[in-house]
């Protein structure tokens, strides 16, 4: 298996954590190679926009959903099994959390500015997460699952922004997980120990992510100007 990614892609942390946790759990693990491509490169032939990172499971067989890739890595060695709670966290992460975190990171890390609107849209989700992780290390059960890996991977870069102020439980959860070897190693590979500034180029090269309210707000959003 192979991960194909551009340099400093914050979502790649998820896949690397899963690969490292898998190795730690089974003793053997899959040999996961990392191949670096240019920012914005199109890897999956049938997709119209660039989608990175992707996991090449077999030659020409791609998983472009990072969460599905994480789950594959963790289930194939029996670290986790099928669970409704994991389904729910992963769906929440991909369909709610990430689409709201992404513009916040683009603003804070990409453009080095604060956008009140994107910050405030994210607040309720952080409030929910802050309550959910209170006095807990793992979101589901009492061991690491892809729910932790996927939620962590998306909120981790927020530690470099002021937005986590006022969410102490969430902040301490992120710190707790950052101490686990698999997390530490994955972060240091992606950030090359230079901190979140390395995410900048990659963030700016990614296509905008449709948000859950894009249907209701389309009359006001820029993207509704179609030229087809």
């Amino acid at each position: 298996m192979k991960v194909i990614t551009d340099r400093g892609n914050f979502q790649t942390v998820k896949i690397l954590i899963a690969a490292k946790a898998q190795t730690a759990g089974s003793g053997s693990g899959t040999d996961l190679k990392v191949t670096e491509v240019k920012h914005g490169e199109k890897v999956v032939p049938y997709l119209t926009e660039s989608k990175l990172p992707v996991l090449e499971v077999k030659p020409e067989k791609f998983l472009f959903s990072v969460n599905s890739a994480v789950r594959l890595l963790l289930t194939s060695t029996g670290i986790e099994s099928d669970s409704k709670q994991i389904d729910e966290w992963l769906e929440w992460e991909s369909s709610q959390l990430l689409p709201y975190v992404f513009p916040v990171l683009v603003n804070h890390i990409g453009h080095n500015k604060t956008d009140k609107q994107s910050d405030s849209l994210l607040q309720p989700l952080l409030t929910y997460l802050n309550t959910s992780v209170k006095n807990k290390t793992y979101l589901v059960g009492d061991s690491l699952t892809s729910a932790d890996v996927c939620v962590f991977g998306t909120v981790y870069p927020l530690t470099s922004t002021p937005i986590l102020k006022g969410f102490p439980e969430l902040t301490s959860w992120i710190e707790k997980l950052s101490l686990i070897d698999a997390f530490k190693e994955a972060i240091s590979i992606v950030t090359q120990n230079k901190g979140p500034v390395v995410f900048k180029e990659s963030l700016l090269s990614q296509p905008a992510m449709p948000s859950p309210d894009s249907l209701t707000s389309k009359s006001t959003s820029k993207s509704s100007s179609v030229s087809s």
Partner: protein, 165 residues
């Protein structure tokens, strides 16, 4: 709101399970006390039905099916412009070029979910437009002939000259 309820009603009938009342929290469907989120509810109902083959036969297929379920929610259902719709249809068309089903050689949740999502889009298109996404149309046409899957959705007519071979 009605659309997602109708869809879960159709899918439950197909699975042979009874679906409770579906409500919505913003745009997120909720099966009260059981599951929250479109994919989570769909997988919950499938587990209940014991149609486990719909999850895929190994972890690799399972991951691919999960990926298409996610794609449906975060991408296909969130088209806000004509161009988005156009891009999504072309992606699916190009992916299905050499495939009978989305994942592996059997029907899975990926087919069921995308079939339901595409009904509204394809039913609003002309023959000519459907012909431009030939592989997708072929896949859809094949699935809609399974009556349990189609339930009360009307049969869409595809131009037969190109689809019969």
């Amino acid at each position: 709101m009605a659309a997602v309820q109708k869809e879960f009603h159709n899918i439950s009938s197909f699975l042979g399970v009874s679906c409770g009342k579906i409500t919505q929290d913003g745009s997120v469907p909720v099966l009260k006390g059981k599951a929250k989120g479109y994919t989570t509810i769909l997988k919950h109902l499938t587990r209940q039905s014991k149609n486990t083959s719909l999850f895929g036969k190994n972890s690799e297929d399972q991951a691919a099916i999960d990926q298409w379920l996610e794609y449906r929610v975060v991408s296909l259902d969130r088209c806000s412009t004509e161009k988005d719709v156009h891009n999504r249809l072309n992606e699916l068309n190009s992916y299905l070029k050499d495939k009978v089903y989305f994942v592996g050689n059997d029907l899975s949740l990926a087919d069921i979910s995308i079939f339901q999502a595409l009904y509204n889009i394809l039913s609003g298109m002309t023959f000519y437009e459907r012909e431009k996404v030939l592989h997708l149309s072929r896949w859809y046409n094949h699935l809609q002939h399974c009556e349990e899957l189609r339930q009360n959705l009307s049969v869409l007519i595809f131009s037969k000259t190109l689809l019969y071979y």
